[in-house]
Subunit: 156 residues, 2 copies
Amino acid sequence: MRDAEVVSFRKARLEDLRAILELLNDGKLGNVLERIEDPMPKVYTDAFAVLSADPNQLLLVGEIEGRIVATLQLTFIPGIAHQGAWRAQVEAVRVVRDLRGRRIGEAMMRHVVALARERNCALVQLTTNKARDDAQRFYRRLGFTASHEGMKLRLT
Amino acid sequence: MRDAEVVSFRKARLEDLRAILELLNDGKLGNVLERIEDPMPKVYTDAFAVLSADPNQLLLVGEIEGRIVATLQLTFIPGIAHQGAWRAQVEAVRVVRDLRGRRIGEAMMRHVVALARERNCALVQLTTNKARDDAQRFYRRLGFTASHEGMKLRLT
C-alpha cells in the first residue's frame, strides 16, 4: 500500500518530541539547529506544554507503524478582519527524508485543510523560504497562491 | 509636533470597533468588505471577545487626541522549532488615509517590535500583498527581509 494511504495523523505526545526535533533538524536552511540531547532540554518540554494547553495550537505528527514520519504546527488565529474570519496557519512542516516524494506531505496538508474547515477558517496560510522552489511547487499544486511577500525581522 | 510623536498605542476597546472596521475597509485589495452597521454585527463583537480573552492576541490601536488613526493585530505564536522560539505575527495593518506618510505606521511597527522583545520573541513576521509595493518598501526600511513566499489558500 502507498505510504500516503497508511500514514495517520494525530496530536503530538510528549514522547514524540525527539522524533519531531530530528525532523526539524533535517532540511534546515542555515537556521538554529535543535538540541537533540538526553535528557530533553527544558526549552522544548516547556514549549510543548504551552502548545498542548492552547486550544488554538496543534502540534501534529504523521505516523506509519509507530514511526513518526512527518510533523507540522497548526495555529488557529481569530481576527476582526474579513467579517471576523479565522485563519489556519501552518509552520514547521517536515517529512522524513527517506519517505519524501510519496505524497505524505500532501496527505498531511489535506488533513490540515480538513481541520481548518472544521474550525470554520476562511483561509489556510503559510510562508515558505524562497530558496525552496520545490516547496513552492508543492503548495501551488495543492491550490495555494503565492500572492504575498513573507517578511521576517529577526530579533535574536 | 509630528503626528508620529503624539500618537499613543493601546489595546483596543469595544467602543473602538467601528473605527477599526472603517480602517479595515479603507485600502482593501478586492477582499471582503467589513459591515459597518448599527447595531454592530455580532460577528465582530464575538471576534472582539475572542481576541480580548486570549493573552496571545493583541488588537492594537493608535490614537491621537481621542481619534483612532491606526490599527493592527498582533499574535504571539509559541513553537517547538528554533529551540522553542516564540514569533510575533502582524496582521491587518492600517493607518488612516489622511495621515499616511507621517510615520505613524513606523511608530506603530516600532511599538510592535518593542512588545515582541518584551515577550522574548525571536522573530516578527507578516505577509504583505505583492500588489502593495509601497508596503514592501516600508517594511524593508524597518529591517524586514522578504525572504519568504506568503502562500494563501482560501476556503470560503
